[in-house]
Symmetry: C2
Subunit: 711 residues, 2 copies
């Protein structure tokens, strides 16, 4: 009996156990919905490793070869070929994205007339042409012979035929014209200016008030070629330096976005403009005495200052310079090519990755190095998606922008058109335009809250051509700063937008003084140039693809949005300290208090510390998905708090009170710095300083409120 | 044996069942996290019923009695008493909120000088005072004797002593002064204007260009008292009509918010201003002929037009009117009192409910009727929270704003200070200021997407004093319109903000022509007046508390945010149709196309239909909480898409391209209507019409994008 009872109990126990097991695993797993696990998933490190290993340098090289077969200036047939290429890749059933399409928009562009090329001549008083500048760049490879190579021109310069005495005006900064105007009557003159120091359009806008009727812009070999200028062996095709006949094209429209659309009526630059090549550099034949040292360039002569016009011993004595500009404007259809990978858990959160597609000529580096990298990223990620191995938590949007060279038009139109949804849903935008300047160190720019994720990614990527050195190691060696909280870290540059990162591998500081790679915007920016001088083997392109892709995956896939608010606080404190050092004394004298700004920065710091603490003490994987979303929204929207559409009424497209552009050139709050600089010369402007202090304090307090407990 | 086996099997079966049950309910419910159920919970209808039954009219009556014991003008001792009252109630351990606190801010206010009261006199050419207007209102109850009753004054009128000939200027509209100026030289005159037709400050701003040096403002018995004006038996305390000595106080600052803060420098009205009571109404003694019919009021005389000054037979012939204004400005501390109930599931989504707290005198109706209702709401909701019976899905924020009467200061400061977090997180704001004008029909204003939830709530509340008639039934009877999609529905008014609802029970249209209740802003707006003439028994207050509270609970607790985007589409279509009818012909003549606007409205309609379809076909309770949140965010943020900070550069505080204020008075897009009206008189202004069409089209397209699939 005891035995029977025992057996019965044991059987019962076994059956009960079976029952519990069935109950536990059989029935009730279905009562916990399947998405409970999905919503808590974090980024998969093994997937990142797989991504890194699959990014291929040869694929990038072949992308570049395809993209640069012909010139592809915005809205030309060559541009359309690149549109088709992007669509084909992104719609590929095996390696494409979920969806890809084109979006067309009408834009207002400016072109030279192929039948009547623009001209620069020197004409004698009797109208005899004494000298004609080159109309096109010299041919070294068949690329330059392509009939679609556009003549170097200043886009948006109005047509016209100004004629006048030539004067050298250095970089065309306001101070340059001011200095010149002290000794020369500039009315009716043609100014020749070199690239650098002032924006393209600014060189003409600054000149107009003095009565200058035309402006020539050239590239001085000092600024781009480390002084070298002979085409026998010093410059391309023998080196990466710009040949003497090279001309940097560019848009002289100072605004962003298309000039036809609501916020911007067509507005032309102040006087006629033309680009020219080196060979007009008869600077010592100009009248006057030697210009100041900072005005001197690398031509083997003294740059004279004064005139106007050529001096007596010169063959050009008494001659005028004449510009014949036949530019015309035209409304044309430009396209953005868009592609998406839809997010699995939070499709309404976007990580955007983009680059422009249009170039001035073949644009191998600008922008096709970036496009080649983007195509490799989408190939690797697209394949994982198509094979069902991966789908990011958040949606990824890829954008191939049109008509950037004419004034950031494609991307500006896109953001104007989708402003509300983008501003509510975008976690970050990654831009890779010029992916590689040279085989060297990383340059990354973006808001400070992104720096840690950039560092993390850069540590996981090998530096091209260096043994057991990461991109991070190489970067910190060449560009670093000391952070109070983080110690020695690589230097991340700032951009004038919110939530944006820009990547490129750029030249080592020690190698050159060029402000950019020498073939920039010339007919020499070709596949041949890129593969011989910029990145033989395309390993730097590969490193950029790996770094940017790593950041992209982390932004799209991390459970917690990888933005660090304490790093933001440190930058605000640095800015504040600079502002106090530079301005407090003079502000006190005018009874303008910096205390509200100091309190605001302190509030921000304490809110950031608090939120970091909340994050550290949370077990996010076991919180409700709405709790995770709340924290993520706090981090994502933090930067929006700094946008004030009324902060810079004179600066179209600038709304960010921390990162707006500034002409004062101080490492502090831009609106405050500019207002202070103005007030120093114009005492009625102190009210504006006060205004910017209030705007800043309110924005920073507002940002602190978004970081604080939500209620 | 068979029996034993059978018993064994049965026992085994029972044990197995027990095991399954334990496994199912015992162990594995813990593997489906408890929040899975919480995040899917919808509004509880039985809780709404409980709420409705607990709202008590006598509590509201006693709230009102406490709030109106003494005058409580902003920043006075009486105001501080109401601050303490609010805090005490909201911090009550049994019926209070989760948290309550005060927020102080410095404001710039304007007061009369109690030691030197403002004066209006008629003085002879020899400076003899022939007549002095009353300085205070006549006493009928002890309330008017309170020394804290502020003298009627025009806040923000600068101090001064203008003296000049009196002219009658009707309502002080631009057209009134223009007409008058045709026959009278207005330079150096004092204008007397009646309330209505133009904003308070506008009456002076409109006058200044004509050289008018002072403006008197009075209330004509025609406009507020249905013509009645005797204090023997026609007016308070015998009826709800304003006694002859009553004066409507008010702020003559035309802007919102505090004048000290960043966006607004102190800016005074164009000329001196003073308020006065009826008895100065010697209109027929003024010079000139009879004024036009629309200028005539209810005094038993002909209102003359011309002069300036009094006519010959009058005792005042040749006399001047003199204003002695001793107003002074002062910076003072004002307080908002804030209280919150923290949301259980989405604490980072806010439903805000508010009203101002300050009055001009006792403010029984304006604003204490609304405050009494708010206190009853928080008592009932607070009790449920404190007893652990309820916690809303979203957070509820209650605001008792300070210094509203001086220009919406408290609420404007609050939104300026917390702009980012409020704009990212707020579902809706409910305002109940004047809760009850009279025992009659509902007035509700808000964006069209909110109308269905207001209807739903109004159907669940009994109309006060009417058998088996709901507030909804009574409302639709007196104010209705026909909607294409919804048939005959009550008329919901529009407000110039996004996501705001304003409620009050107002007088029946048939009962009076008064533009507002007659004791508005006078010393007669007392508990005695409210309980005798506005809402004896406080049942109308109760009905408002029930209706507004019902809407509040639904906004805070519904799984799906109760905003209907198709109702928004219908309004846009109505606006478009009106715009096409009014403007298309003239726009076509100027080559300005309305097609982009038509396309935008059509996009919006189709996106709204699509989203409604998505909602209808979703089983929200079983979706992931992030899917529900995504749809809720689309609905919540829809209205933000219409905010364009650059749309109305001349109109401070207006950014909503659909609901901004408009002076054109057409039921269509305000910016377009105003721009069109300007362009008709000034042909250079057609560009602005084009601009507003672009702004509108872009905003509506942007709103459509937020409603479309997120990717």
């Amino acid at each position: 009996m005891i035995k029977q009872v025992l057996i019965g109990v044991l059987c019962g126990a076994a059956v009960l156990t079976a029952g519990i097991l069935i109950g536990h695993f059989g029935i009730t797993m279905s009562s916990a919905p399947s998405w409970v696990k999905d919503v808590a998933k974090d980024v998969d490190e093994s997937l990142i490793e797989k991504f890194l290993s699959e990014v291929d340098n040869i694929q990038i090289q072949e992308n570049l070869r395809s993209l640069t077969k012909v010139p592809h200036m915005a809205t030309t047939a060559g541009d359309e070929q690149t549109v088709q290429l992007m669509l084909k890749r992104w719609q590929d059933p095996e390696t494409g994205l979920d969806q890809a399409w084109r979006e067309e928009f009408m834009v207002y562009l400016s072109f030279p007339d192929p039948k009547k090329p623009n001209k620069v001549t020197v004409v004698s008083p009797s109208d005899e042409v004494l000298y004609t500048a080159r109309e096109k760049e010299k041919t070294y490879t068949s690329d330059q012979d392509d009939p679609e190579v556009v003549q170097p021109y200043a886009a948006y310069s109005p047509a016209g035929h100004p004629k006048g005495k030539l004067v050298y005006a250095n970089q065309g900064k306001p101070s340059d014209y001011q200095l010149l105007n002290n000794t020369v009557d500039l009315r009716g003159t043609i100014a020749i200016t070199r690239y650098g120091g002032a924006g393209r359009g600014a060189k003409a806008i600054n000149a107009a008030p003095y009565g200058v009727i035309g402006v020539l812009v050239y590239t001085d070999p000092l600024d781009i070629n480390d002084g070298l200028m002979s085409d026998i062996n010093e410059t391309y095709p023998h080196s990466w330096y710009m040949p003497p006949s090279g001309v940097e094209r560019g848009s002289f429209n100072g605004q962003f976005g298309d000039m036809l659309t609501p916020y911007l009526a067509p507005k032309m630059v102040g006087c006629k403009l033309i680009l020219t090549c080196f060979s007009i550099g008869h600077f010592s034949e100009l009248g006057g005495k030697a210009a100041p040292a900072q005005w001197q360039g690398a031509f083997n002569c003294t740059y004279n200052f004064g005139g106007p016009g050529f001096q007596n011993p010169s063959a050009f004595n008494n001659s005028d310079v004449k510009l014949d500009i036949f530019n015309y404007e035209e409304k044309k259809n430009s396209s953005n090519v868009m592609g998406v990978i839809k997010g699995s858990v939070e499709p309404d959160r976007y990580v955007i990755y983009g680059n422009h597609r249009d170039s001035w000529v073949h644009g191998a580096i600008d922008p096709s190095s970036g496009t080649s990298v983007m195509l490799e990223l989408t190939r690797v990620l697209g394949k994982m998606v198509k094979q069902g191995k991966w789908r990011p938590r958040r949606s990824i949007i890829f954008g191939s922008w049109g008509a950037e060279e004419f004034g950031l038009i494609g991307s500006a139109e896109y953001t104007e058109q989708y402003f509300t949804k983008l501003s509510e849903r975008t976690v970050a935008y990654i831009n890779v335009d010029i992916a590689v300047f040279a085989n060297a160190t990383l340059r990354a720019s973006g808001m400070p809250s992104l720096q840690k994720i950039i560092f993390k990614a850069a540590k996981q990527v090998d530096a091209p051509g260096l043994d057991s050195t990461s991109v991070y190691d190489n970067w910190i060696q060449y560009s670093n700063r000391t952070s109070q909280a983080n110690g020695l870290i690589p230097n991340v540059g700032y951009l004038s937008g919110a939530g944006i990162i820009d990547f490129c591998l750029m030249t080592m500081w020690s190698k050159t003084n060029a402000r950019i790679y020498p073939a920039y915007h010339t007919a020499y920016d070709t596949f041949d140039y890129a593969s011989k001088f910029i990145d033989p083997g395309f390993v730097s392109h590969q490193a950029i693809a790996r770094t940017a892709g790593n950041v992209l995956i982390r932004l799209a896939d991390s459970l917690l949005v990888p933005l660090n608010c304490s790093d933001y606080a440190e930058t605000l404190e640095d800015y504040l300290n600079t502002a106090v050092t530079l301005y407090q004394h003079q502000l006190q004298e005018r009874n303008i208090s910096m205390e509200p700004l100091k309190r605001a920065v302190a509030s921000f710091r304490s809110a950031a510390t608090h939120l970091d603490q909340v994050i550290r003490s949370s077990d996010l994987a076991n919180e409700t998905p709405l709790t995770v979303r709340r924290i993520n929204d706090q981090l994502m929207l933090l930067d929006r708090a700094f946008l004030d559409p009324l902060a810079f009424p004179d600066k179209y497209a600038y709304r960010h009170v921390i990162w707006a552009s500034s002409s004062a050139g101080k490492p502090t709050f831009p609106g405050l710095a500019d207002a202070f600089a103005n007030a120093e010369s114009q005492s009625s402007a102190w009210d504006k300083v006060h205004y910017h202090l209030s705007v800043l304090s309110q924005a920073i307090e507002g940002a602190a409120h978004t970081l604080g407990d939500v209620i």
